[in-house]
C-alpha cells in the first residue's frame, strides 16, 4: 500500500494493518464480533471476494437493523414518540432467548417463547407507564422511554449478570466458498429475517388489524374517525414491535454475543434506518436497515470499525437535513 494517491488520514495506519485492534481486546465488548472482519487491513485494492464478504456481512447486520427498525418505525408512526427503550427491548428479548436455550431448547424454538415474553413486557410497560402519559407532549414519553431503557438494562444485569454470554460455546466452522467464508449462523439469520418479513407483510396486508395499523401510521386522526379502536391497535403495535425486537436481539446474540448494552448500542443505526425508510413505513424500515448495514460494513474499508456508528450518524443527519420524510417517504409533508 506504499504510494497511494490518498490523503494520509484516510489511509489505514500501520498499527492497524498488522495487528488486531488494541481497543478490541481492551474494550468490554468487541467492536466487531465478525471474526472475518477485515479490521482495516484491507483498504484500496480490496479484491472482489473481500467486497463480497463485506456485502454478505452487511446484509446480516442489515437484517438485524431492519427487524429493530420496523418496531421503532411503527411506534414512532403510531404513538408519535421516539422509543428510546427499543434497543433495550432487543437486549431483553435476547436474554429471554438465553434462558430457553439454557433449558436445552434449540435456538429456533427458544425464539417463540422468548418473543412472547418480550411482547408481554412491552405491553405491560405500555399499560403501566406510557398509557398514562399519552396525553402529555411526545417528548415526555421520550424521556420516560429513556428511563424505561435504563430500567430494562439494569434488570437484565441483575437477572443475568453483567458479563458477556453466548448461546453456544465453541467455534462454529465457517462454510468456505473459495476465498469466501460464511458462518452458518448468518444463513440462519438471513432466512429467519426473510421469514419474519414475509409474515409481517401478510399480517399488514391481509388482516384487519394490519390494515388498521397502516391506516393509523398514515393518518392518526382520520383512522380514529373511521372508528378504529386505537387503543387496541396500540397494543398490537407494541406486540409486533416487541416480537421483531426479540428476534433482532436473538439474531444479534447469535452473531456476536449477549451483553446488557448490546441493544442500546444499536439504537442509533436502528433510528437511522427507520428515518431513512420514512417514519411509520415498515417496508421502508426494512430497506433502511439493509442500507445502513451495508454502508457501515463497507465503511470499514476506509475507517476504523470503531467509528462505524459515525456512518449511521452521518446518514441520519444528512437525511434529516435534506430529505426529512425519508428516502422512501412521500416528498413534501413532514417536518424537521
Amino acid at each position: 500500500m506504499g504510494a497511494l494517491p490518498y490523503p494520509s488520514f484516510l489511509r489505514t495506519p500501520s498499527r492497524w494493518r498488522d495487528q488486531p485492534y488494541p481497543s478490541a481486546a481492551l474494550s468490554r465488548i468487541p467492536l466487531s464480533a465478525n471474526p472475518w472482519h477485515y479490521q482495516g487491513k484491507v483498504f484500496l485494492g480490496a479484491s472482489v471476494t473481500q467486497l463480497l464478504q463485506l456485502f454478505i456481512y452487511g446484509l446480516v447486520l442489515g437484517s438485524i437493523y431492519a427487524l429493530g427498525a420496523i418496531g421503532v418505525s411503527l411506534t414512532f408512526g403510531i404513538l408519535r414518540f421516539a422509543n428510546f427503550a427499543h434497543g433495550d427491548l432487543m437486549t431483553l428479548g435476547a436474554y429471554f432467548g438465553l434462558t430457553f436455550v439454557g433449558l436445552g431448547w434449540p435456538i429456533g424454538v427458544s425464539l417463540i417463547p422468548a418473543a412472547l415474553a418480550t411482547v408481554l413486557c412491552a405491553v405491560g410497560i405500555d399499560q403501566l407507564i406510557y398509557r398514562r402519559l399519552r396525553r402529555e407532549a411526545p417528548v415526555i414519553l421520550l424521556i420516560s422511554s429513556f428511563g424505561t431503557a435504563l430500567i430494562l438494562r439494569s434488570l437484565v444485569q441483575i437477572i443475568w449478570g453483567p458479563n458477556n454470554q453466548v448461546y453456544r460455546s465453541g467455534i462454529q466452522l465457517p462454510w468456505r466458498l473459495g476465498e469466501l467464508r460464511i458462518k452458518p449462523d448468518w444463513a440462519v439469520i438471513l432466512a429467519g429475517t426473510a421469514l419474519l418479513v414475509v409474515a409481517l407483510h401478510l399480517f399488514l396486508q391481509r388482516t384487519r388489524v394490519g390494515k388498521a395499523m397502516r391506516a393509523m401510521a398514515d393518518n392518526f386522526e382520520l383512522a380514529k374517525i373511521t372508528g378504529i379502536d386505537t387503543e387496541r391497535i396500540v397494543l398490537w403495535t407494541w406486540a409486533i414491535g416487541a416480537a421483531l425486537a426479540c428476534a433482532a436481539g436473538v439474531f444479534l446474540g447469535m452473531d456476536t454475543r449477549l451483553h446488557p448494552t448490546m441493544g442500546w448500542r444499536l439504537l442509533l443505526p436502528i433510528f437511522a434506518a427507520a428515518i431513512l425508510g420514512g417514519i411509520g413505513r415498515p417496508y421502508g424500515a426494512i430497506a433502511g436497515g439493509v442500507v445502513i448495514g451495508l454502508a457501515e460494513e463497507f465503511s470499514t474499508l476506509v475507517i476504523n470499525p470503531a467509528y462505524k456508528t459515525g456512518v449511521a450518524f452521518a446518514i441520519l443527519v444528512l437525511l434529516l437535513i435534506f430529505r426529512p420524510t425519508g428516502l422512501l417517504g412521500s416528498p413534501g409533508g413532514g417536518d424537521v
Binding site: 485492534y21 444485569q157 437535513i321
Partner: protein, 319 residues
C-alpha cells in the same frame, strides 16, 4: 463523617453545574441533548491534558495551572458544541435527541480508541488538585470552596440570562417556534447560542470533576452516570427553574448516595448487582416523577410579563 460531607457536597456542586448547563438547553430552549456525558468528558479530558505533567502516554501534558485547564475545557466543549450545533440544531427535539446519541457514541469511541490523545481505556492519571498544600490536609475543603464559588457564579449568570430578553426568546422558541420565527427572531442563532453555552457549562463541570478525582478514563463517563442521572436531576427538580435544577442535583445525588448505603446491606452474593439495582431505583424514581409530578419539585415560574399597566413607549420587544 465530615470528610464524607465535603466529598458529597463537591459532587453535588459539580452535578449542579451540569444540571444548570442542561437546563439552559432543555429547560430554557427545549433542546433535547442526550450527549451530556460527552461534553462532560470532553471538558474533563481537555483540562486533564493541559494540566498534567508531561507524559508519553497521552497528548501533553503541558503542566499548566488549573485555571488555564478550566478555560480550555470550556473553550473546547464550546467549540465542539458549536460544530455539532451547526449541523444538528435544525432538527426538531426528538430527532435532535437521536442525533445526540450518535455524538455521545462517537466521542466515547474517540476516547477509547485514540490512544495518542487520551491513553485509551487506561485513562489519564496524576491530574493535579488545585490548592494542594496551601493548608496541609485541607485541600478538599478548599476545593469545595472553589466548586461552590463557581456554582454560585454560574447560578447567578443563568438566572440573569433566564430573566433577560435573551431568555425570553429561548422560552418563546420552546413554546412556539413558528410564532417566534414570525416575530422576526433568528431561531437557529438563539438555539445555537443556548446549545453552546449549556455545553460549555458541561465542559466546565467535567474539568471540575477531573481535578477532583485526579484520574479519568472512559469508564467514568458512561451514559448512566454522566447523562441519565443529570436528566433525572433536572426533571425531578423542575426543568426551566434554576433553583429546581440545583435542588434536583442535591436530592437525586442524595438518593443515589443513600442507595449505596442500602445496597451495602445486601447479602454478599448480591454485591455485583448493587450498581444496576441503584440505577433501577433511579429509573423507577424518574417514572414516578413523570407520572405524578411531571413539572418537578419546583415548577418553572417565568417572570410575569409587564402587560397593560403603563404603556411606556420605551418598552422594547424581547431581544
Amino acid at each position: 463523617m465530615l470528610s464524607y460531607g465535603i466529598f458529597f457536597l463537591i459532587l453535588v456542586g459539580i452535578y449542579g453545574v451540569l444540571v444548570l448547563g442542561l437546563n439552559i438547553q432543555w429547560g430554557y430552549a427545549g433542546m433535547f441533548n442526550i450527549g451530556v456525558g460527552a461534553f462532560f468528558a470532553v471538558g474533563a479530558y481537555a483540562s486533564a491534558i493541559v494540566t498534567t505533567p508531561p507524559s508519553a502516554e497521552h497528548l501533553g501534558g503541558f503542566n499548566l495551572p488549573f485555571w488555564v485547564g478550566f478555560a480550555i475545557a470550556v473553550a473546547v466543549a464550546g467549540a465542539i458544541a458549536f460544530l455539532i450545533g451547526l449541523i444538528t440544531l435544525k432538527l426538531r427535539s426528538d430527532y435532535l435527541a437521536i442525533a445526540t446519541i450518535g455524538i455521545a457514541e462517537i466521542i466515547s469511541q474517540i476516547l477509547r480508541n485514540e490512544g495518542w490523545l487520551t491513553n485509551g481505556v487506561r485513562g489519564i492519571t496524576r491530574i493535579p488538585r488545585p490548592f494542594r498544600g496551601w493548608i496541609p490536609g485541607q485541600d478538599t475543603l478548599l476545593y469545595l470552596g472553589l466548586v461552590l464559588v463557581i456554582l454560585a457564579v454560574v447560578y447567578w449568570a443563568a438566572e440573569r440570562a433566564y430573566r433577560s430578553p435573551w431568555g425570553r426568546v429561548l422560552r418563546a422558541i420552546r413554546e412556539d417556534e413558528p410564532a417566534t420565527l414570525a416575530a422576526g427572531k433568528d431561531v437557529l442563532q438563539f438555539r445555537l447560542q443556548a446549545f453552546v453555552l449549556g455545553s460549555m457549562l458541561m465542559g466546565l463541570a467535567g474539568a471540575l470533576y477531573a481535578h477532583f478525582v485526579n484520574f479519568i478514563s472512559p469508564e467514568a463517563f458512561q451514559p448512566e452516570f454522566a447523562t441519565f442521572i443529570v436528566w433525572v436531576m433536572l426533571i425531578a427538580g423542575g426543568s426551566g427553574n434554576n433553583r429546581g435544577a440545583l435542588l434536583g442535583a442535591l436530592v437525586i445525588w442524595g438518593v443515589w448516595s443513600g442507595s449505596e448505603w442500602l445496597t451495602n446491606r445486601l447479602p454478599p452474593q448480591w454485591a455485583t448487582r448493587a450498581g444496576p439495582l441503584r440505577i433501577l431505583l433511579i429509573g423507577i424514581l424518574l417514572q414516578v416523577i413523570l407520572l405524578t409530578r411531571s413539572q418537578g419539585l419546583l415548577p418553572e415560574r417565568p417572570p410575569k410579563p409587564v402587560l397593560g399597566t403603563s404603556p411606556s413607549p420605551k418598552q422594547n420587544p424581547a431581544g
